[in-house]
């Protein structure tokens, strides 16, 4: 495994069960899955590693130990920052969320997300497939 030239995918997700689930799903793929449970960690990991793709949840805490606020779409905030930072702005971002309002979809796309996946509608393996497709297109 160590010999494989693995592409790195960053998952920004705070729900432990979901993290475990996506980790299991990506294990059989050719990608290495990094996980950040809050926005601050997510930004840091994105800047410091050579990330090829980001799977981004929208309702996440700003930093470790912070409460989750529905009124603040912290994930969108992070997306904006990623797209401004020259080091991270070219990384494709897939929004992976359970929010499903037209406003949220428009917001994600206007901020530069390449896709918008509803967690409940996409099985873990479908998420992996979508990620693969986008990475191969590049």
């Amino acid at each position: 495994m160590a010999l494989k030239e693995e592409k790195k995918i960053l998952l920004v997700e705070d729900e432990p069960s979901l993290i475990a689930m996506y980790q299991a799903a990506f294990r059989s793929s050719s990608y290495e899955l990094l996980v950040a449970a809050d926005a601050a960690t997510g930004l840091k990991l994105a800047q410091e590693n050579n990330i090829s793709l980001i799977l981004l949840d929208v309702i996440i805490p700003e930093a470790e130990g912070k409460v989750i606020e529905f009124s603040k779409r912290v994930g969108f905030n992070l997306l904006g920052r990623l797209k401004k930072d020259p080091k991270t702005k070219s990384i494709p971002v897939i929004t992976l969320t359970n929010l499903d309002s037209p406003e949220d979809r428009v917001k994600a796309s206007s901020l530069g997300a390449v896709d918008y996946l509803i967690k409940a509608n996409f099985l873990p393996k479908e998420v992996v497939e979508t990620a693969t497709k986008i990475l191969n297109k590049k």
């Binding site: 979901l18 799903a25 130990g65 989750i68 529905f70």
Partner: protein, 712 residues
């Protein structure tokens, strides 16, 4: 010859004065007495004239007999003018003078007592013989005149207001008339000078002149208008007559023709009829302009006011036009207009002290008086005879004193359809002149028009205000509906997100278990248990949502059992300990030393309610502390849940327990919740007779929730 004509003139003028006042006789005793005064003076003068012309004894005696009546009737009149108390005080005077003057009247006709005489054909002179009682007669008349002088002076001195001004002129008239009579008939004859004696009756003209002045300028006897009309008619008639005579003279002397009277007469009459109308109008205008100094044209003023006041529906403008018109036509500075809602409200006040004026108008006595009278209240009339009014004396006196104090001349009520809607308070005229009857008639007409316009403006204002209120209410309701829609849509977003999260876990986990071949058995077991956990979470969220929807407006079904609250809390704390550990929250329950008695409560609902509160506190106090205590206070159990968490703004505290409605900070929600926990807890506690309150010193300063449960 000239003197004779002057005497005749005096007689005619006095007769006219007497007759004009006679027309108003029904008005009062006072006017009746004044009328008699004019008539007796006239009779005296006319008998004098007749005697000078025909020289008979009877005419001479008649002149003396009627002359004796003049001062007596004058006294009678004066006694009627005075105030009530004055009349009573002087009753004795009347008792004395009546027999005296009747006696003088009668004995004047007895030959040899006062005067008699006969015509001397030789010298062509009527020789007057003085009778035995002549000096008694003279003394009596002299004393009567002295009384007249004294009483006119005293009356004038003791009266007030307009009456005093009127009486001043009347007194001057009486004094000048009387003094001349005393001089020419009593004093000069003592020195043997008798040739001026005949000036006595013409001097009554002085009295007439001063009376006329009082009538015209100061509304004396209320007959100004009659005088004015009479003058105009007389002038027009004289001109027509003169014209007729001129035509006769012209055709007889210049043309030398002899048109029969049967033809000429109707022609002259016709011309007279045709020119009488225009002539009358001409004299009317003339009188307006020069004689009566009227500065407004009645009809023109009314027309202009009507058109001005109906051109607007704005209350302030209507009031403005009303005030301006009255100020200009009446020539006054001080004026105020009140509109009656529940009370009188001042709309515009000029010159008067607004506070004092409002006090007067809203005083019940004055208010009642205005309401009941429904006519202009004229101060001068109040100052005169109060008995002319039907209203309680107390009301009149109060109003009069207030009017006097503030120099109010007229209170003009504006009435529509029996309703008093407004009143105008007017000060004195700038010139100091009194308000004439014509003024008051104009004011009454103006007030009718103004009342209608003010009422219309007021109704319009009301409708306008009503419209605005309605619009505001609709706007408010729309805004509130929009807010509710937004809240509902926010809630749906949150609810669907929270429902989907466990759904995605369950679906995802199960798909992995089915499809991933290389899972270890431990992993497989772990995923299945997480799927199970997710289903539980889903169920809890659904339960909360349904609970919240159900609680709205419905009575909750409760299953009461004897419950020990501290045990319930202990159970909850132990259930929530793993969560607290996970979030690094120090969770402490201070169990009371002495056990609290059991109470009737629904244990399941109670547990759910308290769980919601503590669960909330733990979620918002990551890495902090949550402290729970319970105690008994009288017949209540009090549970306090204190945390060191994020706290709340004042606005959040207000919105805290409402369904779907969450303030800025309260939209912070822990991942497993729906945000309905507090709402549900409150509803449940309230159903059990308890309460829940929250306090916080502000954002970031922790919160304290206090729950009470009654002991039953």
């Amino acid at each position: 010859m000239l003197l004779k004509n002057v005497i005749l003139f005096a007689g005619v003028i006095n007769l006219l004065l007497g007759l004009i006042v006679w027309k108003k006789v029904t008005k009062s005793k006072t006017n009746f007495a004044f009328s008699l005064l004019g008539l007796s003076t006239s009779a005296w003068a006319i008998f004098n004239y007749l005697f000078e012309t025909f020289h008979t004894k009877l005419l001479l005696q008649s002149a003396y007999s009627f002359g004796a009546l003049v001062p007596t009737i004058g006294l009678f009149w004066l006694l009627n003018v005075g105030k009530e108390n004055y009349k009573k005080k002087l009753t004795w005077l009347r008792v004395i003078i009546i027999p005296i003057s009747l006696f003088l009247f009668v004995i004047s006709y007895v030959d040899g007592w006062i005067v008699s005489g006969e015509y001397n054909n030789l010298s062509n002179v009527f020789e007057i013989k003085i009778g035995s009682l002549y000096y008694v007669y003279a003394l009596c008349v002299f004393i009567l005149i002295l009384f007249l002088l004294a009483i006119s002076y005293l009356l004038q001195k003791n009266s007030e207001g307009l009456q005093r001004i009127q009486l001043k002129y009347i007194s001057i008239g009486i004094w000048s008339f009387s003094l001349i009579v005393i001089l020419v008939s009593f004093i000069l004859p003592l020195f043997g000078i008798i040739r001026f004696a005949k000036l006595d009756s013409p001097s009554s003209l002085l009295f007439v002149t001063f009376s006329a002045y009082a009538i015209i300028r100061h509304r004396f006897m209320d007959i100004r208008l009659i005088i004015r009309r009479t003058t105009v008619y007389v002038a027009a008639t004289i001109v027509v007559l003169m014209l007729g005579l001129l035509i006769y003279w012209f055709q007889a002397n210049i043309l030398n023709s002899n048109i029969p009277a049967g033809i000429l007469g109707p022609i002259v009459l016709l011309i007279g009829i045709i020119i009488f109308g225009p002539l009358k109008n001409y004299f009317n205008q003339f009188a307006n302009k020069y004689f009566f100094t009227s500065i407004y044209d009645y009809q023109k003023t009314l027309d202009k006011f009507s058109s001005d006041v109906t051109s607007t529906i704005n209350l302030a403008e209507v009031v403005g036009v009303t005030i301006k018109t009255i100020q200009q036509t009446m020539q006054i500075d001080n004026i105020g207009l009140f509109v009656k809602n529940k009370h009188y409200q001042p709309i515009e006040i000029f010159g008067f002290d607004e506070k004092e004026l409002s006090k007067m108008v809203s005083n019940p006595r004055c208010r009642n008086f205005i309401t009941e009278l429904r006519k202009p209240i004229v101060y001068d009339e109040l100052a005169g005879n109060i008995r002319d009014f039907k209203q309680p004396q107390e009301e009149i006196e109060y109003t009069r004193e207030q009017m006097r104090g503030m120099n109010v001349a007229i209170v003009l009520p504006l009435v529509t359809k029996e309703n008093l809607i407004s009143c105008v308070i007017m000060g004195k005229k700038i010139s100091g002149d009194a308000y004439t009857h014509e003024d008051i008639r104009l004011l009454e007409s103006l007030s009718n028009q103004a009342a209608i316009s003010i009422e219309n403006a007021r109704l319009y204002n009301e409708v306008e205000g009503f419209n605005q209120t309605l619009k505001r209410k609709v706007d408010d309701a729309t805004k509130r509906l929009r807010e509710l829609l937004k809240i509902k849509s926010d809630f749906l977003t949150v609810a669907s997100h929270q429902l989907r999260t466990p759904t995605s876990i369950v679906r995802g986990m199960l798909s992995l278990v089915i499809e991933e071949k290389d899972l270890s058995s431990e992993e497989r077991e772990k995923f299945i248990s997480q799927a199970y956990e997710g289903i539980n979470r889903l169920e809890r969220i659904i339960h909360e949502l349904l609970n919240a929807t159900e609680l709205e407006g419905k009575k909750m079904k409760l299953d009461f059992k004897k419950t020990r609250v501290e045990d319930t809390i202990e159970e909850i704390v132990s259930n929530l300990s793993p969560l607290a550990e996970q979030l690094k929250v120090k969770l402490a329950f201070n169990k009371p030393i002495r056990s609290i008695s059991k109470t009737l409560a629904d244990p399941i609902k109670l547990k759910e309610a308290i769980t919601n509160i503590i669960d909330n506190a733990i979620h918002y106090s990551a890495e902090g502390e949550v402290e729970i205590s319970v105690r008994r206070k009288q017949d209540q159990i009090i549970i306090e849940v204190k945390d060191t968490g994020i706290g709340m703004s004042k606005n959040d505290q207000r919105m805290l327990f409402t369904k779907f409605s969450r303030g800025e900070g309260i939209l912070q929600i822990h991942p497993n919740g729906t945000g309905l926990g507090l709402f549900i807890a409150k509803k449940m506690l309230e159903a059990m007779g308890g309460t829940i309150t929250a306090e916080s010193k502000g954002k970031g300063k922790g919160s304290k929730f206090t729950l009470t449960i009654p002991i039953k």
